[in-house]
């Protein structure tokens, strides 16, 4: 899907910096407070009815981006437009109304539900918050209906989160996100903590609900097969930046960024084991407290050249709707042709 004039979500140059608070002792000692640029100048859009998959390794800034879009974390810079309206400029009251239309399902089904609230209270909260039900009885009735839809039932209304399995808790989280009839949902790794058979159940449920309710998803995952299965377009993130983005078939069948290629080659494939020559990336994700200069991937990139250490590459279009940020794009190389061990330490 290429950009239309009026995408549901449009994100422009979004950044989020976490500033550490400084203790008096540190200030006296002249220690610099930490600051993490978790999301750095990210732009993308999501079309109505589309699933945009966001993939990247732990700590690269996926959750931060998802939350900044909803202003659950206040962005440091940049703009988010939802259905044409500037979310970043909304007053607290207007933002509250907007939240009815934009929801989130969280990563951890164990931590994201209040252990002292019943299912009826947890799932019913958005109804109360947005004045969508007049009486307690109406809340219960609406909650029961949505519980049925996500594979639970009215008998679960008065139970507490600890009485449910991980998969059931994730269903509760989905019910809470859906009950206000939103148009857009950030799914932040909703299946990562689950066993594969339960993961498949939840993926199936999310896709059915999307069709039924006409939803649009920003779907975050670190699992390429999950993203490959359910997203229309995919964005690949590394250390706070989107390094490649485009139609899923295009990006996953013909990844152009060395990092996307390395990710693809690292995924064990149950259907074709040993299909790709392995690219063994040296080292780990660098500390976001002290990210590399130039291209942030240069410390691990098998194709890095001197220019990569000095200058950050800008995103270029390689096919319709398919963008990549890499200095060596024109040479059309791929990491598995080099055979070299990665990294220019």
């Amino acid at each position: 899907m290429t950009s239309t004039a009026n995408p549901l979500l449009n994100v422009e140059n979004l950044s989020k910096v976490y500033e550490g608070r400084q203790s008096l002792a540190n200030r006296l000692a002249g220690v610099q407070p930490f600051s993490v640029r978790a999301v750095n100048d990210v732009s993308f859009h999501v079309e109505r009815g589309e699933v945009l998959g966001l993939i990247g390794e732990s700590g690269c800034g996926k959750s931060t981006l998802g939350r900044a879009v909803l202003r659950l974390h206040e962005p440091t810079a940049g703009r988010v437009r939802f259905d044409g309206e500037d979310v970043t400029a909304l007053s607290a009251g207007a933002l509250k109304d907007m939240r009815r239309r934009m929801q989130i399902v969280f990563q951890d089904p164990y931590a994201s539900l209040n252990p002292r609230s019943t299912v009826a209270d947890i799932v019913g909260l958005p109804l109360r918050l947005h004045g969508l039900a007049r009486t307690g009885a109406e809340v219960r009735e609406k909650v029961a209906r949505i519980l049925e839809r996500v594979g639970l039932n009215a008998a679960h209304l008065d139970r507490y989160p600890h009485q449910f399995s991980g998969g059931q808790r994730q269903r509760i989280g989905i019910a809470r996100a859906l009950i206000s009839h939103p148009e857009f949902i950030v799914c932040d790794e909703p299946v990562s903590a689950l066993d594969v058979s339960i993961q498949a159940q939840i993926i199936q449920l999310l896709l059915e609900l999307k069709d039924e309710m006409g939803l649009t998803y920003l779907f975050i995952s670190h699992d390429i097969s999950v993203i490959g299965y359910l997203s229309d377009r995919v964005a690949v993130m590394y250390l706070g930046e989107i390094v490649e983005m485009g139609p899923t078939d295009d990006v996953l069948a013909r990844p152009r960024h060395p990092y996307t290629q390395s990710l693809m080659s690292a995924v064990p494939d149950v259907d074709a084991p040993g299909k790709h020559q392995r690219v063994r990336l040296a080292g780990e994700l660098p500390s976001p407290l002290d990210p590399p200069k130039g291209c942030k991937f240069h410390t691990r990139c098998p194709l890095a050249i001197d220019a990569c250490k000095r200058e950050a590459p800008v995103s270029e279009q390689v096919a319709p709707g398919h963008q990549v940020a890499c200095h060596r794009l024109a040479e059309d190389l791929s990491v598995w042709e080099t055979g070299a061990e990665a990294g220019t330490r």
């Binding site: 594969v196 064990p268 330490r345």
Partner: protein
């Protein structure tokens, strides 16, 4: 099959936990064979008994758990009959296990170097007998082990504590400690589950490399069938405390016999399946307290019939293939 070929033979293992809700039959009649030099994959959802099975092999089941019955033969010796002291000698020297959670499994109060030294001091028989020469040899060997598992500047990192390393590095340090005495069998319990794919690939390749180099056997516990496909010669599928299918990895993955194995394979999302529905297994893993003696997959099985409401045994379903399903016909054993 000669005894020589099999390094480890577990027969009819039952491990139970006495809990307030009743007796949890975590491992209920499990047989395992690990051949010399092979990598055996063990897959199954959480709670299927993978960790308890191999903690039992290691003699590490603690109260309220206990091994109720079964034998565990390592190079022909029954480990269940050894004294705690004899077992300690085997653990580490002959069999090592890396635990699922590297941060809690490493001792937070000791440096990485101290933990490596302890292992080497207890088990390495090639070291000088005592004194400074022994200490230096241990230090050198420790550095060598960290280098082997790809920790940069191992000399200086020896004096750091576990929390100063990232998740991937901690897993590699655990592997270094497990490998230090040169075991014949390495049991790796979900060594990569908490890691990113690029780091997972590093750790798994490391294990494969060392296995080939040292000719050791590996048991790789995981819930990722892709990992099994890439790294294991044979695979054992566990469900609710029992083995439900076993065989060469290629056979099991290309032609699964048990409905649960089929369900697991069908649950994996794939790029190639885009736009088509996946067929998840319905329901969830049963509670292991007070299970009726029927097929344990009954409540979720798409193929169940009344005939399945009885105890179902493992049966031979091909050369070197076994599965636990009544719908499969037992093949004559040659």
């Amino acid at each position: 099959m000669s005894h020589n070929e099999n390094l480890l033979e577990v027969d009819g293992l039952r491990t139970v936990f006495d809990t307030s809700e009743g007796m949890v039959r975590a491992v209920d009649g499990v047989d395992v064979t690990v051949r010399r030099g092979e990598c055996l994959g063990v897959v199954g959802e959480s709670g299927s008994g993978k960790s308890v099975t191999f903690s039992s092999v290691m003699g590490l089941v603690r109260s309220p758990g206990r091994i109720e019955s079964g034998s565990i033969r390592f190079e022909g010796r029954d480990l269940t009959r050894l004294s705690p002291r004899e077992m300690r000698a085997i653990r580490g020297r002959d069999i090592s296990m890396t635990m699922q959670d590297a941060l809690t499994a490493l001792n937070p109060a000791l440096t990485v170097g101290e933990q490596l030294s302890e292992m080497l001091d207890a088990h390495d028989e090639d070291l000088p007998a005592r004194g400074g020469a022994r200490r230096r040899a241990i230090r050198d060997k420790s550095v060598e082990m960290l280098r082997l598992v790809g920790i940069p500047s191992p000399d200086s990192r020896l004096d750091q504590y576990p929390h100063e390393f990232s998740g991937g590095m901690r897993q590699r340090i655990m592997i270094a400690i497990a490998l230090a005495p040169g075991p014949k069998l390495l049991i790796a319990d979900e060594p990569t589950t908490a890691l990113d794919v690029t780091i997972q690939a590093q750790v798994l390749e490391l294990i494969s490399e060392i296995r080939a180099r040292l000719g050791m056997s590996v048991v790789l516990i995981t819930h990722d069938l892709g990992v099994v496909a890439e790294h294991c010669d044979r695979v054992m599928v566990m469900y609710a405390g029992q083995v439900v299918e076993e065989g060469a990895t290629v056979d099991v993955i290309s032609n699964p016999q048990h409905p649960y194995t089929r369900g697991l394979l069908g649950s994996i999302p794939r790029l190639s399946l885009r736009g088509k529905p996946i067929r998840p297994i319905q329901g969830q893993v049963p509670n292991l307290v007070g299970l009726p003696p029927q097929c344990r997959f009954y409540s979720r099985c798409p193929d169940r019939t009344e005939a399945c409401l009885q105890f179902v045994e493992m049966r031979n379903v091909g050369s070197d293939r076994r599965a636990r399903c009544i719908a499969l016909t037992q093949e004559e054993v040659a």
